[in-house]
Amino acid sequence: MKLMIGLETTVGDPTGAWGALADGAEYFISIFQEGGAVLLSLMGGILPTLIVLLTAVNALVRLIGPEKIENLGVKASQPGLQWYPVRYMVLPLLAVFFLTNPMAYTMGRFLPEKYKPAFYDSAVSYVHPITGIFPHANPGELFVYLGIAAGIQTLGYGLGDLALRYLLVGLVVIFIRGIVTELITARMMARKGAAA
């Protein structure tokens, strides 16, 4: 920086071995300056929104009371085709929303043994798709979605479209996953029963 205009105050860059070291030091610190800029943009950008959103949803969940969904767990344990969407779509969605990761899996206690692995599979597969819109459900693992969403933001597009599609496709995927795992579990249990 020139402090006195008109005077030759330019300092030459250090040369030789010392210059190489100095360049190395600058390069080293530039990595962390870039990281610091990213951290500041995260803290200034999404963090305040996230905190307010988490507070609101946490308060809502407390006011409603998570125990309300237990009745649904009892209903979902029934056999029959019409209970498949309840067991592997509605129940995981509500369990993950109200009980959050990892307490959502406790809803499995209302189901018969043969449905438990499938319900776990279904519920655990929803703890990331839900974070696009409801980050309170899994605040420790936000960057599966946020990492990719950051790229979309860099391009200047809105995130609503991606978040909504992630949420809905996630529902379809956990439904299929529940059914497939239930079938595999049934087959393995039968084989084990035959062997015993």
Partner: protein, 181 residues
């Protein structure tokens, strides 16, 4: 007089309850933010800084360009993540998925990967979700030990089918997402 008193007590109690709940929710939020969210942000920021500043970004871009910007490539990623021996190793804390997600995000931002691939990519990098946690998750659901014995392999094998399938579904669901037409 006692009627008014009763009303006052009732109103005061319910308002106090709601305010207390809100305050407790705020406290819980700040707690999670400091314990879970900010540490991960710091870690992710370091990785992004490293990728953007050094040549690692270009190196990764060359490596994943073919994989992450075609359906076949994403299917390969999802099958690898769903291999029953690998999936429990890749699972813990979703750390791997979060790092890969962040790296893909950087490449999407740089234009290496088309934006509409963001949706199938979200599923391709995550067929291993919860595979490390199956016995604990089942125990939380009060499952018998026999169920756990069957449940662990059942979920792991199911992922081999549903992992790639989820990528295909997401691929078809991504039509019209961030594309110009």
């Amino acid at each position: 007089m006692s009627g008014i008193n009763a009303i006052l007590v009732k109103v005061g109690r319910s308002v106090g309850g709601v305010v207390g709940t809100l305050y407790q929710a705020g406290r819980e939020t700040v707690d999670t933010t400091i314990r879970n969210i900010i540490p991960f942000m710091a870690f992710i920021s370091f990785i992004i800084g490293l990728v953007l500043t050094t040549g690692i970004g270009d190196w990764i871009a060359n490596g994943i360009k073919g994989l992450a910007s075609s359906l076949v490539g994403l299917l390969i990623v999802s099958v690898v993540c769903a291999i029953p021996i690998l999936s429990p190793l890749l699972g813990p804390g979703a750390v791997i998925a979060q790092i890969v997600g962040t790296l893909l995000g950087v490449e999407i931002g740089r234009g290496t990967i088309p934006a509409q691939y963001s949706l199938p990519a979200l599923f391709a990098i995550n067929p291993q979700v919860g595979c490390d946690f199956i016995p604990v998750g089942l125990a939380l659901g009060e499952a018998e030990p026999e169920t756990v014995e069957v449940g662990v392999p059942a979920v792991l094998f199911s992922r081999l089918i549903t992992g790639p399938l989820s990528v295909v579904i997401a691929y078809f669901a991504s039509f019209g997402l961030y594309s110009s037409n």
